[in-house]
Amino acid sequence: MQISLLLEMAAESFPDRPMLSGPDGPVLGEEVLARARGGAAWLAQQPGKTLVFCGLNGPTLPVALFAGSLAGMPFAPVNYRLADADLRKLLARTAPSVAIVDADMVARAEGIEGVTVVTREAFDAACLDPANRAAEIEPSEQDIAVLLFTSGTTGEPKAAVLRHGNLTSYVVSTVEFMGAEEGEAALISVPPYHIAGISAILTGIYGGRRLVYVSAFTPEIWVDTALGEAVTHAMVVPTMLGRILDVLDARAITLPTLRALSYGGGRMPLPVIERSLGLLPHVDYVNAYGLTETSSTVAVLGPDDHREAISSQDPKVRARLGSVGRPLPTLELEIRCPDGKPVPAGESGEIHVRGEQVAGEYLHKKVLSDDGWFATNDAGYLDEAGYLYVEGRLDDVIVRGGENISPGEIEDVLRAHPSVRDVAVLGLPDDQWGERVAAVLVCDDAPAIAELAAWVKARLRSTKTPETWEFRAELPYNETGKLLRRVLKVELTTRVAA
């Protein structure tokens, strides 16, 4: 099943429901479909087998995604924030391709062999051209829907393959077709090259929710757009939420139309979500865990879980606020130890998933096991009630004298200290222990190291107290809010060696 069928179903069943918010007002379902068909007919005449999107968020993005699908071209959104040389290297890998590029980025993308550059404006015009819209489109046999270059906190970006079957299976099994009430609108602020940016288009359109775009995230624009477009649903990554709350605080306003806020894409600090629950108590909170390779969400902590956890006196139930909820009923999830055997509840290991939405594939390289399991490279554990706790990338787990230590747990404790604004915990090479625990902190007024050490020691086992302390003005994050722990690790290790 092709993802374009999701659009066709929505547009044909509800042709006059607003599907997108454009610069000139709402765009109806039938018009979005007509644009996608126009775009597809035009694409069919271009050289190139892959459709690249290099630009900011906006209503052209979903049209391009579906036009690519209709034309049988895998859709490859690329990170325009990359340095010029890296961007060009990535674009060259998509050849032969057609690249829709923002006008102010054209110079950075031009002149690459096999990459035909077209501006966003020119593509928009092709989608509106009556001749293109009237043209017949051959049914597509293309299996690959989307290519996403993984954000690359390490090494060369890999091209994750998402097949039409993976994405449609995720959408059809988790979203009620046109289940949204009239007037619901979803605010999309994750960039186009993020899996959540793709899945938001599919689930929003299939669910009947109008898509509203923030072209590039700033907390001010996000708040203004949420208010101006009467947004009811939104998804944010952890670094966005705190900044949004700052704006709400400064303006002394709330978001009266917002009904549901989902967050994911990294560890959400507990104080931030608690503050959000306080500032926006009328909102349903959803925490989602997923990966590019799994077509987005594989576990969800829903609104009821949030309410139950926040109001509970039972520390076990309260702790669920730090979990990512329970695995989707449509897939299987296991925690396994390094020898591959599943571990009992409460024990840490690597998170494995299996299901139709799980792609587990890179270009020219399938990484699923023979029986269909995908090893996420994330460490985590399930509690007795089946709630999943993600401890971070497996490579980030600190192994100190044979003991596995999760940086996330120590970070949470340090972040709760009143002077600590941000923190990263990582392992550094150590002659005696193999690795030792290091903490890099951003503080308002840096407290004495002894005080911080005592703070951790009072709350965690003594082996988890950092032995190396470092203070910084800020921590390195990539543009989707992922902490670049590895960058810190390299810096600290080099310094120790020197």
Partner: protein, 102 residues
């Protein structure tokens, strides 16, 4: 008929269309309105009529399945005929939608 995942089928007697979500374990005849469905691109035979026994309708966005056969289809266009395999009506899948997470 080969009910491959993703393959699309239309009714011979009404406007219903479906797409195969999960293929059957063994070959079956997929019917709508009491008549075998035909591949979307094919020409439907003429002169067939909707059977009153299979006139409950097919809805867009609903999933229909048969446990024993392993088949699951998704309604992609609505119509008057209802779905069956080898004369046995398909069941409507009552799916619990998840809270919006993207």
């Amino acid at each position: 008929m080969e009910l491959k995942p993703g393959s699309r089928w239309k009714s011979a007697v009404c406007t219903s269309e479906v797409v195969v979500v999960r293929p059957p374990k063994t070959p079956v005849s997929l019917e709508c309105g009491g008549q075998p469905m035909v591949a979307l691109a094919a020409t439907a035979p003429e002169g067939l009529e909707l059977s009153p026994d299979f006139s409950g309708g097919t809805a867009v966005g609903k999933r229909y399945f048969d446990e024993a056969a392993g088949l699951e289809v998704l309604g992609s266009k609505a119509g008057k005929g209802s779905l069956a395999i080898d004369g046995k009506p398909l069941n409507l899948k009552e799916a619990k939608a998840l809270p919006a997470s993207d």
